[in-house]
Amino acid sequence: MLTFWRAAWAVFTKELKDALRDRRTLMVVFVTSVAMGPLVLVMMSALVDKLEKRAEARELVVVGIEAAPSLRNYLERQTYVVKAAPPDWEAQLKDSKLGDPVLVLPADFESGLAHGEAPRVDLVYSSANSRAQSGVGRVSRLIAGFSQEQAGLRLIARGVAPASLGAVQVDEHDVADSASRAAQLTSMLPYFVLMAVVYGALNAALDTTAGERERGSLEPLLATPASRHALVAGKWGAVFSIGLLIAVLSCLSFLPAQQMLRSESLAALFRFGWAEAVWFIGLLAPVAAALSALMMAIAIRCKTFKEAQANNTVVILAVSLMPMFGLFNQEGEAPWHLWLPPLAQSTLMNRVLKGTPIAWADAAPGVLICLLITAASIAFIGRQLARRAAQ
């Protein structure tokens, strides 16, 4: 006698085998979702590394330094190396070929300084040249330091304590710990793993529903004594497993990627160990379940694979926009964020990256909503299956 579980198991194993034989699609999914995250992370670390190197290089590009021996003296005392600007520095700045802002000194800098005339210097950069722009603050602070030193010397010469110029003193305190600082850079990680789940499950979700209709294999399937619910359970199980498999692979892919980080400070800040990976997978599992069921429910109404793909764009778009929500939302977390799947999980995954402990009460709403979506979608597919086969 054919039981529910035997039929569901038969469907599950067949769908899994079928999906895993689709090598070309799996390869594309693997490259786009599993390899993409680590790749971007490594590329980003290379960028941070370059910026750090530039900051460490302590170089300053100046035009007309011959006219300013006292500034040169100050800069050299700050262990800066003064470099003369190339002749076409302005064009190079515009074309982003020059990676440093350029300090332009007037010819009468030294004499102006000696006469207390406050000579004007130009700090030239291009806001379209991000490399050069990132150095602007550093150079400004350097010049401000020189200016303060000169002013202090003048006050001392007149018998005034330099402290009288500083009515208020500012001490900066950064309360972000290293993990939360790194989370700024790594906040796109949840986005990558969520998209991996979507793209991992998408093909199987469409193939087991709309694909089955398009091939004309749904009708023979429904002519077997297997119950509709067993068929749907088996199909959903297979799609969910593939989505979860891709989620696990993409989470684990960040572990070796970590070793490849070039920036030492980023490597020190970015902590993605086994514990974080397990948290990620645990948070992603309910999302994978809900998304698989939802995409199947949308696809079962479509007669062809193509039509189903077009209809499922809505889901893909929604999921891809959710983590971006964090970018637009400057007001921090709101309680309702935890009730809206993708967003709830992406919020919690960011907490994991910041090293904040997660309470069960925070994780529960997202899981609950995911389970509701899964159950509703599966019930819907079960009802549609028989109706759609005859169309």
Partner: protein, 252 residues
């Protein structure tokens, strides 16, 4: 044995103001005996496919009863489906699975143990002369090869009743002959009850023990080919069919 009694089915087409009711099957009754091949013969749109879909349980009839080996479709659809082998007009295969995997998959869904399903697969491959196809993926199969695989899939659980919807559609002469031969073997050696629908006279003449003529969803005439010719008063079966099917439509 398959019994259809006074089946009715109406479909709604269009929406809103353009909604229209179409009667697909209008009180169709017939009985198909064991050890015989019963042909359901009718022009396009006569309601053959709808009738067979109701018989399989894909479409619920508005009225009437379907019994297979005495079991009622309405009361125990699962038991009925287990006694039916169906080759519908949709005979899609899974292209990434081999023919054998396609066949065994349906065996599992019928609750056949794996080793038995494998044995049945070999047996059917011999019957349908498709041994070399078994372990090839079905991607790129010809129409004839697809039909053989789909038929083997429909018969994997050794059903007592076989239902085929226009099985020779798109088949060449060789494949058609092979199918005919296989159906005769199934009838003569295992005494199956076979029902198939077609609109091709030749099929019916060569194969059917009994013919049910259907037109506009109604049962028009029934009998052997010779009986139908006598009934219509024609020597040629094609002429007899036209007179029975379309003559009936005109008088209605």
């Amino acid at each position: 044995m398959i019994e259809l009694q006074a089946l009715h089915k109406r479909f709604q087409t269009g929406r809103g103001r353009q909604a229209r009711e179409v009667t697909a099957v209008d009180g169709l009754s017939f009985t198909a005996r064991d050890g015989a091949i019963t042909g359901l013969l009718g022009p396009n749109g006569a309601g053959k496919t709808t009738s067979l879909r109701m018989l399989v349980g894909l479409v619920t009839p508005d009225a009437g009863e379907i019994r297979v080996d005495g079991l009622s479709m309405a009361q125990d659809p699962q038991a009925v489906r287990a006694r039916l082998g169906v080759l519908s007009d949709a005979r899609g295969l899974y292209p990434r699975l081999s023919a054998r995997e396609n066949i065994v998959y349906h065996g599992r869904l019928h609750g056949v143990p794996d080793d038995l399903a494998q044995a049945r697969c070999e047996h059917l491959a011999n019957l349908l002369e498709m041994q070399p196809l078994l372990d090839r993926r079905t991607e790129g199969f010809s129409q004839g090869e697809r039909m053989k695989t789909a038929l083997a899939r429909a018969l994997v659980h050794d059903p007592a009743n076989i239902v085929l919807d226009e099985p020779t559609n798109g088949l060449d002469v060789v494949a058609t002959r092979a199918l005919r031969e296989a159906l005769r073997t199934l009838r003569d050696e295992t005494g199956k009850c076979i029902v198939f629908s077609t609109h091709i006279m030749q099929e019916v003449e060569r194969l059917c023990d009994r013919v049910v003529v259907v037109a506009q969803g109604r049962h028009v005439a029934e009998g052997t080919v010779a009986e139908l010719c006598a009934l219509a008063g024609e020597d040629d079966f094609e002429d007899a069919f036209v007179r029975l099917a379309f003559g009936a439509a005109e008088t209605c």
